[in-house]
């Protein structure tokens, strides 16, 4: 058995073995690759932040240079155009609610999709994939009409409900994909203990799938938070508008204020990064619960 396996190794694989995986060189190689990639990903963020301290014109003419004469004017302008505190709060109320609703409703649905057998399962799966394909341009007008009809325009719910609907299919697919591979023995053990389906969900599947809930939570938060298009239609009023609406204020036919744009992006990005770092804690937990890596 052991030998048979050995023989199936290709030359290439053996070389990998020898020179990469088990050697110092291999480790260094890994770090080099990762570092190169991270440089490409840090670059745009650094670009945004550095440019947010430049004058609007300089952003186009000298975009890849350090600011020669750093200014906070862009941020001052941003603070003047919208009520920052209020907008952040609105963003958190809206996106926070969307995340909670999606994770709860999506979580139980994912559990059913992943662990229960029923006739319509295939059909529902198709329906879910189909809904990932529906462009938001195609749904915004009917949704806006419904919101007008329910007198919800310019309330938090006007955005929370459609965003929840829009993100549920993604959540169900990812979480159910994760749950699908959880060992059947765990499920059986839970049945032995006399657990019903709901308890099985809360006591077994939810804790094990926590990392995927966190992952989904991050992206749902991100998408909800960055959804400028729906926000402008459904919650444009200052009292309820989220921070991303700031981005719609950077241009008009009189031109684009690139300085304001970079400052606005910098300001909208920060909370998402904080949220990501917090949610990451759950990955770390997931990672350590898997014990030490070889």
């Amino acid at each position: 058995m052991e030998q048979a396996r050995e023989r199936r190794l290709t030359f290439w694989e053996r070389m990998q073995e020898r020179y990469f995986s088990q050697s110092k060189i291999g480790k260094i190689f890994i770090y080099v690759v990762l570092t190169i990639w991270s440089m490409t990903t840090i670059f745009p963020l650094a670009w945004v932040f550095l440019n947010s301290f430049k004058e609007s014109r300089e952003i186009i003419t000298d975009t890849f240079k350090l600011p020669t004469d750093p200014t906070l004017q862009n941020y001052v302008n941003a603070f003047e155009t919208v009520n920052i505190g209020r907008s952040y709060l609105n963003s958190f109320i809206i996106s926070g609610s969307v995340v909670l609703l999606v994770l709860f409703i999506g979580g139980i649905a994912a559990f059913a999709m992943a662990r229960m057998q029923f006739r319509l399962r295939g059909f529902l799966q198709t329906l879910l994939v189909a809904s990932l394909l529906i462009p938001s341009f195609a749904t915004i007008v009917p949704v806006y009409r419904m919101m007008i009809g329910m007198d919800l325009v310019n309330t938090y719910r006007a955005l929370i409900i459609p965003q929840t609907a829009g993100n549920l299919p993604f959540a169900i697919l990812v979480i159910s994909g994760y749950m699908a591979t959880i060992p059947r023995e765990l499920e059986e053990a839970a049945v032995m203990d006399g657990c019903g389906r709901f308890r099985m969900f809360t006591k077994v599947f939810l804790p094990i799938s926590l990392p995927s809930f966190a992952t989904v939570g991050i992206f749902v938060f991100l998408w909800s938070y960055n959804d400028l298009f729906s926000s402008l239609v459904l919650v444009s009023h200052e009292k309820v508008a989220p921070i991303v609406v700031l981005l719609s204020n950077v241009s008009s036919q009189y031109g684009t204020d690139y300085g304001l744009m970079t400052a606005a992006i910098a300001m909208t990005v920060i909370p998402v990064l904080i949220f990501y770092l917090l949610a990451q804690k759950t990955f770390e937990k997931g990672a350590t619960s898997g014990a030490v890596k070889g």
């Binding site: 690759v33 990762l34 975009t63 198709t126 809904s131 749904t139 994760y178 389906r197 995927s212 070889g294």
Partner: protein, 287 residues
């Protein structure tokens, strides 16, 4: 399991009620619009299948369709591929993993408008970064966005932008693999690349499948980056279904025709997702 019925019903109903009302119903309205010549609001005449016939004969739509398919290929191969490699690499190290996990996420949080502007300023002919480097090295300027190259030039930022997304999903998936699997593999002398192909990938195949589906569906809807970097040009050479639909529905107020393109996107995406599922068909592995 016995008595599951009620739970299936209870667990699925809320999700499908809310998506039904706010996602499927609007889409059905969209579907109906595709049979009308309409601006979406005031003028509408029933024209039967005319929009579909028009779509069939529309050369730009055909270009957009093939461009979208080509992009899907790049995205599924490179975006998911790079993400998988990065996830496996990050999983294999202990020091600095948190740093990479954080930085790889950066491009996703920055709005498409900014990424688009960034690449516009990189590719620009007169003052772009690439040409400034060439000029400073004493070379001639290069026209980066041509009819031949434009699709690749939008594919690069498109692929790069969302690698972090699949990276996070795949890393989450990899980290759920119980460590005893690796221990056992180690005892059997399976490490490195072998470990990757024999152990890691088979164990996360469901998640990979999810990623493929997400990549296909996401790419079909791609709009913002392409729109900002090339505006679909030059000469429609980088037009994709997302940009074409936006142009028809919003710039041209041809809502009916835009709706028809939306229907095409959904049908095409479903077909592709179905094929992917068939290709990757395996018994779902549990640990």
């Amino acid at each position: 399991m016995k008595g599951d019925r009620i739970y299936i019903f209870l667990f699925l109903t809320p999700a499908f009620i809310i998506t039904g009302i706010f996602l499927y119903y609007p889409f059905i309205e969209n579907l109906l619009q595709s049979f009308y010549n309409t601006d979406g609001f005031f003028n509408s005449t029933f024209i039967g299948l005319d929009n579909y016939i028009r779509l069939w004969n529309d050369e730009i739509a055909r270009t957009a369709l093939f461009n979208s398919l080509e992009l899907i290929l790049y995205v599924t191969v490179f975006q998911v591929g790079i993400a998988l490699i990065l996830a496996i690499l990050v999983d294999s190290i202990t020091k600095g993993a948190a740093f990479y996990r954080t930085t790889f996420f950066f491009p996703i949080v920055i709005s498409g408008a900014a990424i688009g502007l960034l690449f516009t300023l990189i590719y620009n002919y007169r003052n772009g970064l690439l040409n400034e480097i060439l000029v400073s090295m004493g070379m001639e300027r290069v026209l980066w966005l041509t009819e031949q190259s434009s699709l690749y030039m939008v594919a690069i930022p498109t692929v790069w932008n969302y690698v972090g997304f699949y990276f996070v999903i795949l890393l989450t998936a990899i980290q759920k693999i119980p460590n005893d699997f690796y221990e056992a593999a180690k005892l059997e002398g399976i490490t490195g690349f072998q470990k990757m192909f024999r152990l890691t990938i088979p164990l996360i195949v469901t998640d990979l499948k999810t990623c493929m589906v997400l990549a296909i569906t996401g790419t079909l809807k791609i709009f913002e980056l392409v729109y900002i970097i090339t505006r679909g040009g030059p000469g429609n050479s980088s037009e994709v279904l997302g940009t074409y639909m936006y142009q028809k529905a919003f710039e041209d107020t041809a809502m009916g025709y835009g709706a028809t393109i939306a229907v095409l996107i959904v049908v095409l995406g479903l077909t592709l997702a179905f094929i992917t599922n068939k290709l990757l068909k395996r018994e779902e592995v549990t640990y």
